[in-house]
Symmetry: C3
Subunit: 469 residues, 3 copies
């Protein structure tokens, strides 16, 4: 196969980046909290005396945490392969950087286009949403890791962001669901999107690259950087765009608690699954995060601290079992490099349904009348919606996100099967040398090390060379 | 020795996690700044017009920094051993995740239990305190690194958190000490707790694992990730729960300054100690942090910027000397893997006494009358306490924390000597293979590399094989 | 050459640190937002009801991001060399810790010395500025990496901070330029300062260390930690000290957008430059950051989102071309280890001129009258300055910063040529063993690995040993 991307990759980067410049020029403007003229007017009109009331101070710390999750969290989580660390962290960097620009546009058209002026106003909340939007495509990347070319990843991202913006509009605006941390719109969608693509791109001879589909000691430590930054900042992820005040506060607490409990059940199942009770790094790196995924919808609700603990408890178990019994791979002939089915798709789907249940169970006694309106945004044309109805719509929203992921993924998968994208041969997957300059000496060292695996101890070795002599 | 933890580890994780779910269900509720109904009422009652006055916006950025210190800081600092990086970062992850849940309960019972309703209210400050509480046990882990099983670590944490909550109650509530960054309650306690356990668990034949008790080049670089995140975020650690406004501001400045000065004296002593003036990574990784430990109590006081510089100056020297002359190991037969005596115990104790001196030296001229009340919380039944008395109580508090650490550690140490915990044999310490699945090929590569250390150059090697032939 | 720094390094550290203690004692005090007495009075005088109006809450999250950039960002970016990772991250730690203390003093004398009391007041903004000031010297370190001793680096920092404070005073105070993110005062100055030093210290026989002037697989992954933390937190760098409210908000948005676009053009040029379209880690690690450098001046202006995209677009191309065609090295005999010419000097200079153009193009229509005054600080003796004049001064400021860098660098370079500083021999550069204790076994392993590069496969090897036999 021809893996030369010297024309296609620069072409895609340049054409799309130029398109971004033009579209930003036509559409994107600062919003009233980041434009100097508008902010001064806004302060005057709303009798605001202190700049601290600018949304920047409510959301910027959370934005930076989310930003770290997208670039270091997702990026380093994907460095676990012994010879695909450059690709893991580097391609993640590339597609997230493209994706967030396209997301600002797509989400802007759907959510904040001023029909009078034809302009999109952006502020710090738009940046957070753009990062969120990228997360869907980065999750899909996890299922495809090592098996596709960077050009294909750019295509996955272009369509992924587009599909995301549409399903998000349907779920959040039309169905009026609440999904601040994106269990549905980010994780369930992104997971199934990636899985559907991977299913279409099934490689029957992938075992030819088996030697590279695994970790070495230090690549597993690198991956823990990703795991921990995702784990630590997940409370910021789930609270970044929730209501000011109690909303952000509560979402952070709930996510913090759910994640802590998830770690313990992950360790328990991981240890039980092995003859001598040894832990498996794959589980620790991934399943410990499932609690955060599953709290994406319910974190801002009054799920109660022990409710959060229970969610984390169950998701740690379910996700670890997913890694232990990769039935998808066998039953569906689906190759899922990072196990996004266990980490994102299933916990995301569960998170959607948990959100539905918690919403339906909301009472005026717990939330107060004003509180119900505040949390579920029962205003405007939704002023008369009951919590039961809201629960039903939340469940429907989850199904919509899965449907978008599956159908969109299959279509994109078929697009990616055209033989023009420079994807690697079956015996060349999971290898950085296909798309990265790797130092010549390193290569020799690496092959030498593989070579020496054959020789188990020095006596055998010397007797062998001796007998030759 | 039987290091199989397949039953004990899952059992401990499940039983304790289920206990957490039940206890959280009975006791833990959102506080008035994270509960939607209570926050709306609170705003109304206190005439608060902006959600920015929610404590979330005062403390959340600091909370996230502290969270990074606990999981990435402590975790990666302990990856320095050549073959115990999984254990260092992974067990840290496990015990901190359990510890923070138990801490929310223990600290809640002592500090924020509403006696009328029987409930504990939690908010962002509770999360910071729970992370702090874990730090004590993680410090103890540093002394035990590589020599205990994960089940033992869970026991260390269970008792560590419990002892912490009690000594903290005595020191902060009964003695009315100030200790925002925890020189006394976290570092002195945690350090002596770990050392006492390690003393009881003394292994006379630990030299059998000597080959693994050291670093390799890249494991030292990994450890620098931990060092730097601890060092950078220490100003947040010491300011996270201090007074709003000037209190947080001043604590951050003082800690920043002390840490900077600590780096220079650490480098100076490290260089002086070696024949050719070469630096030792162990000192740079650890002693540079001693200034932050020693500012834990005094950071919120008016210690003045040059006072902070002097504290950092002295602690860098003292801590580095501790690493150069590990007299404890020889004199007391005490094995301290990470040198917590030099990094936490001694600087923590010094920090307690520095705090006592600075408190006793406080004057109305510097603080103002209102300022003295604000900084030392001379309200209620402590309204008439003088700064001299306060200094005395601060010193007494330091002694209490050390006593709790030593006595508690000895008791826990004896509990850990029961032969049921699956701890490693003397020739099997510092080795991830005991509790972690490690890829087979990696093992061979590793042994091969050790093997080749014997062969100093190719000529000798070829002549050897030649003579055999 | 004698590389023993056992006397000089501790001497420099101790003498300078003691000087810092004395000077801090004489000059440095808390400002009115971090001193308890002054803050209580300030609140009363200004009718401030909430502590949230303390500058701490406007700037501390950004400060911590900047702090991470200085220590982890710069530090890990310089771990890319195969055997100089300790030096990269460790010396960065040392000189930044010294530099920030000296910066607090130098910047204090120039900007916040109270002539009545003779005291300098510091607060969180001073800490950010001190970190910024260090950045100049750390950039210079990048050009010198591996070729100088730690004592020389301390000298580079001492003079670097001093020169910085003077040029900053001229540019910001006398010329009244705006340069919140430091395109001019930090990047152009720091870049040319380092390059001029490196030019004076030219080593004709540096090729003797060629074997060590390169990366290995995992050192490249470590460097990506530095790259990503710089990239992610650059919006905080450029917005940390801009105006409260819209100023910080806008600067963060502009930088975020410019950096995203920079990644795509870097990838495009990197791929185009290689026969098979493979990417080069050097470009990804460095040129992706050029967009942030170039936005240092203009980020706070109303450059518009698409203007930011264009800046990133162009700088990604220019910077990557710089790495592809290192004409400086050939034409000027200048050795620039990290390529700071391409990453800091040129993009910084461009950033200065971009700032000048955007300033000159400012209109009352876009900014509003009040907005123009707010953004360009047209108050006091500058109340009547026009935007055109401002643009001219911005351009002049850029030239001043470059001149300071070049002239200062040449002078410091000649000071560093005295044969007393313990710098490494030409065949000993880029090697941690000169200044760091490196485990003996590791050394052998390392040489063994280099040795085995000679042997391309086992057959050849066995036949060789066989023939000997």
């Amino acid at each position: 196969m021809n893996t030369n991307v010297r024309i296609s990759l620069p072409a895609v980067c340049f054409v799309w980046q130029i398109a971004m410049v033009i579209l930003f020029g036509v559409f994107i403007r600062y919003d009233e909290e980041s434009d100097v003229k508008l902010w001064l007017r806004f302060k005057q009109e709303h009798n605001i005396t202190s700049d601290i009331d600018n949304d920047f101070y409510f959301r910027y710390p959370s934005f930076q945490d989310v930003h770290v999750m997208i670039f270091v969290g997702f990026g380093f989580l994907m460095t676990f392969l012994k010879r695909y660390s450059f690709g893991g962290v580097g391609f993640n960097f590339l597609i997230a950087s493209f994706g967030l620009q396209w997301a600002l546009l797509m989400q802007g058209w759907f959510h904040s286009l001023d029909l009078e002026t034809g302009k999109i106003s952006i502020g710090v909340e738009s940046l957070i949403n753009a990062d969120f939007c990228c997360a869907g495509s980065l999750i899909a990347f996890g299922a495809l890791l090592g098996k596709v070319s960077p050009v294909q990843l750019m295509v996955v991202t272009l369509f992924g962001i587009t599909l995301f913006a549409v399903e998000e509009f349907i779920i959040l605006s039309l169905l009026h669901c609440r999904d601040a941390g994106g269990s549905m719109v980010i994780h369930a969608f992104g997971g199934y999107y990636g899985l559907a693509i991977s299913w279409v791109l099934y490689r029957p001879n992938l075992h030819l690259s088996k030697r590279l589909n695994g970790s070495v000691y230090h690549s597993d430590v690198f991956a823990m950087i990703g795991t921990l930054f995702l784990w630590m900042f997940w409370p910021s992820f789930n609270s970044a765009i929730t209501d000011h005040g109690d909303g952000q506060h509560r979402a952070a607490i709930n996510t913090y608690i759910a994640l802590a409990s998830c770690v313990l059940t992950t360790v328990a199942i991981s240890s039980m699954s092995q003859k001598k009770g040894k832990l498996d790094m794959v589980h620790i790196q991934n399943a410990t995060l499932a609690g955060g995924v599953a709290m994406g919808t319910a974190a801002e609700f009054m799920i109660t601290p022990y409710g959060s603990l229970i969610v984390g408890f169950c998701c740690g178990i379910i996700s670890t079992f997913g890694y232990l019994f990769p039935f998808l791979e066998r039953a569906l002939k689906l190759q899922d490099t990072c196990g996004v089915h266990n980490l994102h798709a299933v916990p995301g789907m569960l998170g959607g349904f948990i959100g539905a249940i918690v919403a339906a169970a909301a009472t005026e006694e717990v939330y107060g009348r004003e509180g119900l309106i505040r949390v579920f945004d029962f205003t405007g044309s939704f002023a008369n919606r009951s919590v039961g109805t809201q629960g039903g719509f939340q469940a429907a929203g989850t199904c919509v996100s899965i449907a978008f992921g599956l159908v969109g993924g299959v279509i994109v998968g078929f697009i990616l099967r055209f033989p023009i994208w420079g994807d690697p041969a079956d015996d060349n997957c999971y290898d950085d040398e296909v798309y990265w300059e790797v130092n010549e000496k390193q290569k020799k060292h690496f092959y030498h090390c593989r070579l020496t695996f054959q020789i188990s101890d020095i006596n055998e070795f010397l007797s062998l060379s001796g007998s030759r002599g």
